[in-house]
């Protein structure tokens, strides 16, 4: 059993190359729950939460590069919250102040939960994930990284170094359904982002399929009906839009919700986000 504290990304590359069975510990909010309940066998652990490079973010040009150990707390307020408002909205719905002080964006991606609240936003924005190991760096789309319920395509010696998130000009929304306002895992969630310059709308859904997914049909349909100059949408298309959002979901029944309720609420979230961003044409 060994416990190691990585001090830089180079260190981390070496430590993983040396023994790739070592497990990474970031904020611990998923990791330690599994350890406490004996659902995770640990023989070697590398703490990555003191690696300065991973705790930084920077705004360059038309995107933000967010280190994997940036916490929700940092995302939910300050400059990041105005650069990527939907990501901040999502961060603010996660857990509690204690959880947001510790939990990281890299941990949320690596855990790859269907209910991971960062994921729909990153999908809708078309974020790219930078993955690193001693042998080099590669870049994946979010849906290439996340391969199923709590599974990802990282090789054993790789780690998530950072996430490249486009900064768009246009309103964004993240909405989530759950039994109370704090400390809830999403029953359903939806992210909607717009890019006024490219006349683009991105929509992604959480907790309604094995992994968060894009709602491509609904995106195509609605983008053809939006009046981008006036930021309006005709009332006649809302119902069809809501149906397309519902149809892109493939939910299951579980202890948190029935699939019928998930299907219903995801449509409601779609309409609500749309009408927060666009006015109804009259």
């Amino acid at each position: 059993m060994d416990f190691l504290i990585a001090s830089s990304t180079e260190d981390l590359c070496e430590l993983l190359a040396e023994d790739s069975t070592r497990q990474l510990l970031a904020g611990g909010t998923d990791f330690m729950v599994e350890v406490n309940f004996r659902h995770r066998d640990i023989s070697g652990v590398i703490a990555i939460d003191r690696i300065e490079e991973l705790k930084q973010w920077r705004h360059d040009g038309d995107s933000v590069l967010i280190g994997s150990c940036v916490t929700y707390r940092e995302i939910e307020r300050g400059p990041l919250s105005t650069l990527i408002p939907a990501l901040a909205q999502s961060a603010r719905t996660i857990g509690s102040p204690q959880i947001r002080n510790a939990g990281t964006i890299g941990g949320n991606l690596a855990t790859a939960s269907p209910a991971g609240d960062m994921i729909p936003v990153l999908l809708a924005l078309g974020a790219l994930v930078n993955i690193r190991s001693k042998s080099g760096v590669r870049q994946l789309q979010v849906d290439e990284l996340i391969t199923g319920v709590k599974t990802n395509s990282l090789h054993e010696d790789e780690f998530i170094e950072s996430v490249r998130v486009p900064v768009l000009r246009g309103p964004q929304e993240f909405l989530k359904v759950g039994p109370r306002n704090a400390m809830v895992i999403s029953v359903t969630s939806l992210a909607m982002v717009t890019d006024i310059d490219r006349e683009y709308i991105g929509i992604a859904l959480g907790s309604v399929s094995a992994s968060p997914c894009r709602s491509s049909e609904a995106e195509h349909f609605i983008s053809e009906n939006i009046d981008w100059n006036n930021m309006t949408v005709p009332s006649g298309v809302i119902e069809n839009f809501e149906r397309l959002v519902r149809e892109s979901a493939n939910p299951i029944d579980d202890h948190r919700s029935s699939s019928a309720y998930r299907t219903h609420t995801i449509g409601v979230l779609g309409r609500r986000a749309l009408l927060r961003i666009f006015r109804l044409e009259n």
Binding site: M1, S7, V33, V35, N101
Partner: protein, 165 residues
Amino acid sequence: MDIAQEFNQYELTVNDSRYVISGSWLGESLLYVLRERLGLYGSKNACEQGECGSCSVMMDDVLVCSCLVLAANAEGREIKTIESVADGNELSDVQEAFIDTGAIQCGFCTPGLLVTIHDFLDSNPEPEESEIKEAISGNLCRCTGYGRIVEAVQLVSIRRSRRDT
């Protein structure tokens, strides 16, 4: 920081005292070590999954659930627990306010709430009620219904602003 640290012995700094922890299991949480190895029973254990906040401590001035901190990874960090909130027999103003408003029933949630509220009021001395509710949303109380806890926070805020003027 030296990367290769001997796991089975490490040092913790808790409430300004240093402790050497040896012969422990790698997976022990900070909460477990505080309670079972250091005899600091103020931090409570109710869920071990970050849901209840009764184990809240400050780690390098950041409020965290100690059940979600790997104890060995707290080495080199300043841990402050509920045991450091009162100054000897002198209660802190938040503790006084809890007594004055009757914000304690069984008391199980109280240590975690006190740590949380001290942290919150340090960064937000004159909070709105909605901000108070958000700040304590990670601390479950099964007895009080929270009304008096919110009142206690408001009372501290008022008392501090009077004291400062």
